[in-house]
């Protein structure tokens, strides 16, 4: 039986407080794999998410290695870029199974990524410049 994970958040609060982060780290840090062919984005996203209480357990630069990594590490979240060199993020999302939830990212706007973002089994979509732990948690908990 897997532990029930929860994103601590103050009702009505837009930003996470240190207390929230501490509470999260203290309880159980969500594990994340970042899949993107831009190294700079992976680095910046890792910095930010780790500061926001996530545990970035792996990075992949293409769809094939992402599938291997996710299969091996079974992270809670796979943050997958839509435009990968070998396959689309939609395809990666369709092929990831088990307990890992997929959140699609792109520097393009939501309206520019098409209907497949909704039908590929991903938990949600977030533009790269709006990436934040709080947003990620909202998506994972079913709030858009």
């Amino acid at each position: 039986m897997l532990p029930q994970l929860r994103c601590p958040k103050k009702p009505g609060s837009a930003l996470w407080s240190r207390a929230d982060l501490r509470a999260t780290i203290g309880v159980m840090r969500r594990t994340v794999v970042i899949v993107d062919d831009h190294e700079q984005f992976r680095r910046s996203a890792r910095n930010l998410l780790e500061l926001e209480g996530f545990d970035v357990v792996g990075e992949a630069a293409n769809g094939a290695s992402a599938l291997v990594l996710v299969d091996r590490l079974e992270p809670d979240v796979a943050l997958v870029d839509i435009g990968l060199p070998d396959m689309t993020g939609f395809e990666v999302s369709e092929r990831i199974g088990g307990r890992t939830r997929v959140v699609l990212v792109s520097s393009r706007h939501r309206v520019d990524v098409g209907r497949r973002a909704r039908s590929c089994g991903a938990a949600g979509f977030v533009t790269k410049d709006e990436l934040a732990g709080e947003r990620l948690c909202a998506l994972l908990e079913g709030q858009t």
């Binding site: 240190r18 984005f41 910046s44 500061l51 520097s107 309206v111 520019d112 709006e130 990436l131």
Partner: protein
């Protein structure tokens, strides 16, 4: 008529009269039975002389004349004169060999096939050797068919009836039992292998040859299967029927040959008619007119385009000429200065009537010049059209590259910077001076604005969703971004060629932008559907109307883009009645 031919004609007529007298008076044949031999001989001579004067370089004429004379000397076998009998017996079957030679050599006068040549040679050898050798042993006593008994050979060396009978039967066996079936097989093969036009020309001649050959089988069967010795033997009454079929075939062969020659002459006359009407024949109808004139529906014309240094069809499309061969042949035509003008690709059988294709080419020269100019113009237009498509395609490719460069370059760097600044904000947390926190927050906001503007710019250059997900998804995205209610009534789910999708998308994009910015519309509909091999994209708004393609609205550029793909753009925009932009783009799938 030249003296030699005139002399041959007179000699032929004289021989025919002598033959008739010999058969009628000496052998007491009926009038009906006395006529065929002179008739066959004379028909051969007359047809041969006509062919000879018409085509002096074709051997068929002399061959036909020789065939006629061979038939005219045959009745001398019944002569009481030893010399006449000997000459006639020695040369009497030459007519059969000549018959095969003529049938297989028609219409060129040459036997080019190896097997046909072999058969013709064998025919001459057998037709001459057997009778000549027989004469060395024949003293008039042996039982030999078609001769008057008791007239001895003029070249008798040693009388021997057994040898004579063996040679007589041997001749029948080889000539009628072996060579005649081979001849029939080669005739059938010639018909099967002929091109459609050649088959039309050959058919009457070869049918005549086949009919005449029936008698040969009968001779063979009669000799070796004499009734009642064999149940397979032919009934004797068959002989009479076959005799008349043989006569018909032998008369028909020279007549068919004559008819073939006359039809070629008629065709040349037809070309003369064509020349008078060619100034009224539009270039597009030149091919069927020429095809009809020379009797070859498969005829094609290729025009020489000096600029391209190659051949093209009437529409200016490049054409590769076939090699001269058994199925197709090419005749090159030059203009008055000797420069290449056109090539006529035709049935190889037309080479047998060179004057016909030459006359047709000469008659059509002016029309060919005009048609070539038209083909040249069309080829140039096609090249302009192709370059137009290439320019649009290159523009599209450039747009895609710019979009990718923005997305993969500046946009990624700004996104990473925004995340880094947000991380710095997090690190500093509440310990940071409020001014610094404000500066960082302002920088993050500015960066997000910059990323948003870059995103808009990239999308305007080329929407990635169009490349990745197709027209339907791109139109949906376009509708979502438009600050007015937009209903998509239809959009093709299947992917279409990228240039077509691009053109259709930009039609919708421009029409929507005009509706929002200039038309004061409150609602818009988009419909993109495939009809009869075209993609039709229609955008209708309820605005003030009054738009036109030339009105500086960006629709002119769109019209150019659509026309480059062979389509057209229409704008219906009555003042106060809304605007209806319709783009039609040819697309196969």
């Amino acid at each position: 008529m030249k003296p030699l031919r005139l002399a041959l004609l007179v000699l032929g007529v004289a021989l025919a009269i002598v033959d008739y007298g010999l058969l009628r008076d000496d052998l007491h044949q009926t009038v009906l039975r006395s006529l065929p031999a002179p008739a066959v001989g004379l028909s051969g001579i007359v047809a041969g002389l006509v062919a000879w004067s018409r085509r002096p370089d074709n051997r068929l004429g002399p061959l036909m004349v020789a065939f006629g004379f061979a038939w005219l000397i045959r009745p001398w076998q019944y002569s009481e004169s030893g010399l006449a009998f000997t000459v006639s017996f020695a040369l009497g079957w030459l007519g059969a060999a000549l018959f095969a030679h003529i049938a297989l050599a028609y219409p060129t006068g040459r036997v080019t096939d190896r097997w046909e040549r072999l058969l013709v040679r064998a025919g001459y050898v057998v037709a001459l050797a057997f009778p000549t050798v027989t004469l060395l042993f024949y003293d008039g006593s042996a039982d030999v068919k078609y001769v008057r008994p008791e007239v001895p050979s003029g070249i008798l060396v040693h009388a021997n009836d057994t040898v004579v009978e063996i040679l007589d039967k041997g001749f029948v066996l080889v000539m009628w039992g072996v060579l005649a079936p081979c001849f029939v097989a080669l005739v059938i093969r010639k018909l099967v292998r002929a091109t459609p036009r050649a088959r039309r020309v050959l058919l009457p001649i070869l049918l005549a040859a086949l009919i005449a050959s029936l008698r040969a089988f009968y001779e063979f069967l009669l000799t070796f299967l004499t009734p009642p010795a064999s149940p397979l033997a032919p009934p004797p009454e068959l002989a009479d029927n076959l005799y008349w079929w043989q006569v018909i075939g032998q008369i028909a062969l020279p007549l068919a040959l004559l008819a073939g020659l006359l039809s070629a002459r008629l065709a040349v006359a037809h070309v003369g008619d064509l020349m008078r009407t060619l100034d009224r024949v539009p270039p597009r109808e030149l091919r069927p007119a020429l095809a009809q004139a020379v009797g070859d529906p498969s005829l094609e014309i290729a025009f020489w385009l000096p600029e391209r240094h190659g051949y093209a069809d009437a529409d200016g499309r490049p054409v590769t000429l076939p090699a001269d061969g058994p199925r197709r042949a090419v005749t090159h035509l030059a203009d008055d200065d000797g420069a290449p003008l056109a090539a006529i690709v035709h049935d190889p059988s037309l080479h047998d009537e060179p004057e016909l294709i030459e006359a047709a080419g000469a008659a059509a020269r002016l029309a060919l010049e005009n048609a070539r100019l038209e083909a040249e113009l069309k080829a140039q237009l096609a090249r302009v059209q192709e370059s137009r498509v290439r320019i649009v395609a290159a523009g599209d490719e450039q747009r895609r590259r710019i979009e990718r460069d923005i997305h993969d370059g500046a946009q990624q760097r700004l996104v990473a910077l925004a995340l880094e600044l947000r991380a710095a904000q997090k690190r500093l947390g509440t310990d940071a001076p409020p001014e610094l926190d404000q500066v960082l927050a302002g920088a993050v906001d500015e960066l997000q604005l910059a990323v948003g503007e870059l995103r808009e710019l990239a999308r305007g250059v080329h929407p990635a969703i169009l490349t990745e997900d197709g027209l339907a998804a791109a139109l949906e995205s376009l509708a979502d971004r438009t600050p007015l209610p937009v209903r998509i009534l239809a959009a093709p789910e299947a992917r279409l060629p990228a240039p077509i999708e691009g053109a259709a998308y930009f039609v919708a994009c421009e029409a929507l932008a005009n509706a929002v910015k200039h038309a004061g519309a409150t609602s818009i509909t988009i419909r993109a559907e495939q009809h009869n091999g075209s993609l039709v994209v229609e955008v209708a708004d309820d605005g003030i109307g009054g738009a036109s393609i030339g009105g500086g609205s960006g629709l002119r550029g769109l019209a150019d883009r659509i026309e480059a793909h062979g389509g057209r753009l229409r704008v219906e925009s009555p003042v106060g009645g809304g605007t209806h932009v319709i783009g039609e783009l040819p697309c196969a799938s």
